[in-house]
Symmetry: C3
Subunit: 416 residues, 3 copies
């Protein structure tokens, strides 16, 4: 490959990395907006730590768990050792340059993906989980569980050999994160007062501008998430992926608009916001396989699913303050199956492998997350006290408030 | 053209697309910040739907109205059929690769532009327009009116043949959107209580951080809006466009600083914010033709225009809560004329064609928007009731509030 | 160099420029979030004007002071004249194309850097400085002081000849800005009521979501700040810089987490946010020289420094509302020294040149800023009145409030 073409391919992976990075701001703002005012510092703190923990654990072991190496084929588990290239690996990085991008670009792009998976959980368990328990959960999940299922497909594992298709991670990132969120919520239980004898209490988010900003930033980042997953700057494929990604998001907005009107007879902003995200999650598995019309249909359906799914989880007393399970789990499964239904890949045998692929990864992620969360529950505890939940985690865990109007005691530098 | 050069040119169009996309977040935040607290959800909802509607209608017909094809020359109207390339068009997309970028990149870059045009209107009519009436207006305007005038120049129509110059859309996007906004505001009327016997009532925006964020994001996106309009990654031209765009924005800030001090004897943040946008709109028509010094002058004048224009429209009882007509219409015209005054293109004959070009497009856009808005007014109605306007559109149209402090009744999943 | 490779290198400098630009939004949000509600408009106004002033002065003289030309070697001062390339320079820009990027890209990338340096000061002097005095200070500092010290290394001056290493500006941008901030704060004095007989009063910021948003945006922009400083799209080097930059930021978060827990026994969000920034500032001098493990260590130490440094400055009664001196000055020095301690560059002689390089630039910046601020103090005055400080600068200087709840008198277009 000539130097210029290699350079432009590599550059796109790096630019896509930057775009995926900003999804962490998107998640932070979305989750902040959807929680109550008294729990905003806590969400922001968690999101700052998750990206840090995600990058560090992926450096230490995740990358080598997920990509055990070129000799590895078709297995369930592989590991290429701790750490990534040592300083002399800089030279190694050049030799690696036979592919479409360099070693460092490969690592950092994948590392940004890894951290998003843990972030999905943080919204679902918001407003009642203990900070440090969550951080330990996130560290272990992103260091071990995410790379193992990811390897099954992207690292050349058994599901890759079986013909499972998941272009940019409807299952590998989103449904896996969504299953972990579901498991965590079940072990943790709902917020106090959410489900009462008198019905389901509405606990509205404290700032719709923050939530909307989060969704726009996530869409923005998704151009890197899906576009970068082409793994080169191929003009036709990256262009197509941009078109399908955008049209699916647009379809998601419209689908959620009509479905929420049908269900609630109101123009529900939260539903449209989550509908956009649902469309994006839905197209992710097949963004490079669909035509524009198919992308719109996939998005429309994903968006229409959202209000029904949110109602369903609430009826099951699965308390997810931001709708992460509906967006990432339900639409992630939908998008994975859509690969077997639409586009050039459509076919019953493909649909079948899509189904057992997503269920296999989901089963692993759910069981892993459930067991880990349960273990934390019976050891250090995972839930703040009722008193702390009522006061809010910002004061209880951080001794500060998100906004100046409320009591704030931080910035009080008495050394203890 | 060699593969690597084609790939980098195409990549820049795609990256520019991502930048233009985030302008929709910029508009959302700017408009949210400039409206009252009780109308924030409504603005956010509209902006989510506009980008969705813009992309979908541009896919369905806008793109083929605006670019009727290579055989088309010098006419007033052309249409290449519904929809864009079908799945077999993926192969077609490769053949298209004789140009500087691929078919998909071309479509998605132009589609992002289209949606911005409708967004310009949404700020001007904020705080009193009916949601669904506005969405119907936006859909029809972006599907039909914007592509027709756009075609006159960018699609190879009669104004292109006449020598009209509009590099990235001072007229084609901004003034056209601004004329539509003006027409819509005239049909709609001012907010209740804005213009009284006792004078003009100040109705300040609810959040300056959101407004400022919007302006920075718009400037950020403008690097893609203008830079991408080079239609290749040409190092000299894209570099020059970055320089002129930035310096014009800087000039706009300084121009508005001094003009608003002269007029109001205060350091008015709203004016400086709109001054930056005015500078950006002003340079857009000739960003590739000007030297740095000329860009600064164009921006200074655009910024200085803003406070005078805002006062003028208020005296005319044209109620535009965000100043969209001043920014996009007035500075759009100024920028279009500036192409005939400054730079290598300067000359009386050029100035003349710039004038009738911008007036021709403006006349079409104004009449189209006026007629459409009037038609909606006499059929389904375009204005919320006085009671609803007083309560705020968030409760009236969406049954929720933007912030937790206020009464919020959403997230109440009783199926109706 | 072939055309495609030149084009992709140049494109990366331009994309990096866009990323550095958005750091100005990052600073705006960070500083807005960390100040009190009554001073938010003032911070936003200053940040809008600083980027404008920075670009314009850099165009007028800064660029030619900082890069006196290829004939210049090893001196203390040089100047290539006022203004940049005239319109006929467009042709000149093509000839310049022997390097890795064009003339315009070079100018605009450097211009964005210049403006960040002045922004660092604005946070430290927030909540009590007179608007126009600050703007004059910023204009002179960015027009003269920053380019002179910058030239010593990046323009081929005496410190470059001496072997001083500062990849992307731990000293040249951050410590220089930090020294200027320190000087300004000393001349200006602390906010009223901050240091009393009863101890140090906590004055918490008014919005943690804005502050967190600022930090994420700064990290986002830092990919351009450090990545663009490779001055080409070199796949190995840009990739490595992305890895070291990200891992240092992650290390900074973790370092601040543990250090602030140790010091304050609380999970302090402000500290973790500044810890991330500290990690980023720390890696900036050697981002292209370190391996991933070294980057983590540099970041961990930088993050751990933050809480101690914040306490230290508070004990010295240096009142810096946003922690700019801790982040940019202290971690900037640390990062500069780290080049002599870690990586392939490590060694006592390198450490020595790093030390006197950072001290030499720091001494110049401190003395220049101190003298300039003092001159302003004894002439036009630099501090608002006690009454104005109590009321808040938003009303006092801008006659408006950041949020609608408070009294707002702007948008009142009576021409004076």
């Amino acid at each position: 490959m000539n130097e210029a073409l290699f350079t432009v391919n590599n550059l796109w992976i790096l630019v896509a990395t930057v775009l995926v990075f900003i999804m962490h701001l998107g998640f932070s703002m979305l989750e902040s907006g959807f929680v109550q005012k008294k729990n905003v510092v806590n969400i922001l703190f968690k999101n700052c730590m998750i990206i840090a923990i995600g990058l560090l654990t992926y450096y230490m072991m995740g990358f080598n768990l997920m990509y055990p190496g070129s000799d590895f084929e078709g297995g369930f588990f592989g590991f290429a050792g701790f750490g990534i290239a040592s300083p002399d690996g800089v030279a190694g990085a050049i030799e690696y340059a036979d592919g479409a991008y360099g070693y460092w670009a490969d690592f950092i792009f994948q590392a940004m993906f890894a951290a998003t998976c843990a972030t999905i959980v943080s919204g679902a368990v918001a407003e009642r989980i203990k900070l440090n328990s969550f951080l330990i959960f996130a560290a272990i999940f992103v260091a071990i569980a995410y790379p193992i299922t990811g390897m099954w497909k992207w690292g050349g594992g058994w599901l890759d050999a079986a013909g499972f298709y998941d272009f940019a991670g409807s299952t590998i990132v989103h449904a896996v994160g969504g299953w972990a969120a579901l498991a965590a919520v079940i072990v943790l239980g709902p917020r106090k007062g959410k489900y009462t004898d008198k019905g389901i209490k509405a606990i509205p988010g404290h700032s719709m501008p923050l939530a909307a900003m989060g969704v726009f930033l996530l869409w923005f980042g998704w151009f890197g998430f899906n576009g970068g997953s082409v793994l080169s700057a191929d003009p036709v494929l990256v262009g197509l992926v941009f078109v399908t990604t955008s049209l699916a998001a647009a379809g998601g907005a419209v689908g959620a608009y009509f479905a929420s009107w049908t269900l609630f007879k109101s123009h529900d902003l939260s539903m449209v916001l989550n509908g956009i995200l649902g469309g994006l999650v839905g197209i992710t598995a097949g963004a490079d396989l669909m035509g524009p019309g198919e992308a719109i249909i996939i998005g429309l359906i994903a968006g229409a699913i959202i209000p029904f799914s949110v109602v369903f989880f609430d009826k099951m007393k699965i308390d997810d303050p931001v709708g992460a399970t509906s967006v990432h789990l339900v639409c992630g499964i939908w998008g994975t199956l859509a690969v077997g239904i639409f586009g050039s890949s459509a076919g019953l045998s493909q649909l079948w492998v899509q189904l057992y692929g997503t269920l296999a990864m989901g089963a692993f992620a759910f069981v892993f997350a459930f067991a880990l969360m349960y273990l934390l529950k019976v050891t250090i505890g995972i839930r703040v006290s009722e008193e702390e939940e009522k006061t809010g985690l910002d004061i209880a865990e951080h001794d500060m408030s998100a906004y100046q109007e409320l009591k704030q005691t931080s910035f009080n530098y008495s050394v203890k």
